[in-house]
Symmetry: C2
Subunit: 251 residues, 2 copies
């Protein structure tokens, strides 16, 4: 990524035993990756960690020091296994306090008399947190420092991200071109390395695939300058032609 | 996980710009998570990192010190962006050498006279590495110390993992029971916490969902003792019944 992006990068921390156990397939990471690329904020690291206090604290502190933006998903609900807020507060060395604004939102969402202790838990935030809207289910996410604490349920995570989108100031959007052909990686490696050397501002990745029993390779060119990407993609196509390789549909 | 598993844990490091850019959806992590759970080797951390030397070195060294088993995926092909082997060797402080066994396998796979420099690159391994079979496309993976270096292409990664499966000695398989109902998490939080307190050997997770516009919650009980899991699941079902919540299909 460094070849293409002078922009400050982002890190996503997926918090949840259900992902690590294989029970639930994470949908948030690929979605956030695409959105962040579109905002010109490259995702440069992601972690998946269990719902364990010390591990969350360590991951939040390591990642917020290392990256311009950190997004966590999961663990901010009302049940006993929702421990993200306590851990994030510990990471920042601040208390967990009941946020009046969050309480008012929960009150409005659930109605008078329905604010049980479990629901009120979702108004508890690290001191100094700034709320993030949740029109789907009331309970807000929040930002503290450069850490955005989002829900784990994809539909809720997405509306939360949409509400903070305008605050994320990245560079020009990172765009890509892909050229695929039925040629093995090992047949194109030297020529491809030469193209990469001629296009230092473009990050060129090579991804082998097997389709209907045939080996092929997708070449992905990423960067911020569409003209350089088009020029690089043209060289890749010419390389495949010269090798007599049949172009393949991009998937 | 700590409540259920005294077993040594595992970490997966997904190496690849294509995952972080959102272009490619990682399929290896959920598959490995399930396989490892079945072997009684809980996955306790995963990272997704770019194809950058220093970042790979740091991740490999941090994770191999912290976890019993580390699995990397990606970056071991023949092209310029395949830098995993150089980074893993640097992490272990050993040289990259051309492995005679790996060379023989590539020779057998590609045939006489077809061993280009690019293909031979796939016979380069950290000194002291032990080969992992790749019946799909010849080029082997390898193990060095507690780090298993696997391919990124899912079909190849899987056969590599299958060939090392018998070497991974975990505890009893980690199994689960799931009970789902149309009840909001906040309605069950206190009762569920009480059940968790009565079943300290079972890790109970609560996962909200929205289905056809209705809010529901899946309760997942995980551990190694099927009888305790069944007893805990029975209590969860009784809790939902008492609340008048309609049970939902488990997804």
């Amino acid at each position: 990524m460094s070849a293409t992006d002078p922009n400050p990068g982002a890190c996503v921390i997926v918090i949840g035993n259900e992902i690590l156990s294989g029970r639930t397939r994470d949908e948030n990471l690929p979605w956030l990756a695409e959105q962040l690329a579109g905002l010109g904020v490259p995702l440069v690291e992601a972690r998946v960690i269990p719902d364990e206090h010390d591990i969350i604290v360590e991951a939040v502190n390591t990642c917020r020091a290392r990256h311009a933006h950190v997004f966590t998903t999961g663990g901010i609900g009302p049940t006993h296994d929702d421990i993200t807020t306590a851990a994030v507060a510990a990471a920042f060395g601040v208390a967990v306090v009941r946020d009046a604004g969050a309480r008012a939102r929960l009150q409005a969402y659930y109605g008078q008399g329905e604010l049980s202790a479990a629901r009120l838990k979702m108004a508890d935030m690290p001191l100094g947190a700034e709320l993030i809207d949740n029109p789907v289910s009331g309970a807000p996410g929040y930002r503290i420092g450069n850490v955005y604490v989002l829900a784990g349920v994809p539909a809720i995570m997405r509306v939360m991200f949409d509400s903070i989108r305008s605050r994320l100031h990245g560079g020009p959007p990172i765009i890509s071109r892909t050229v695929a052909a039925f040629a093995r990686e090992s047949a194109i490696a030297p020529d491809l390395a030469a193209i990469q050397a001629r296009f230092p501002q473009v990050a060129i990745g090579s991804y082998p695939f097997v389709r209907d029993g045939r080996f092929g390779t997708s070449i992905v060119l990423r960067g911020t300058d569409p003209q350089r990407l088009d020029a690089g993609a043209a060289e890749v196509r010419a390389m495949f032609r010269q090798l007599g390789a049949e172009l393949a549909a991009v998937q």
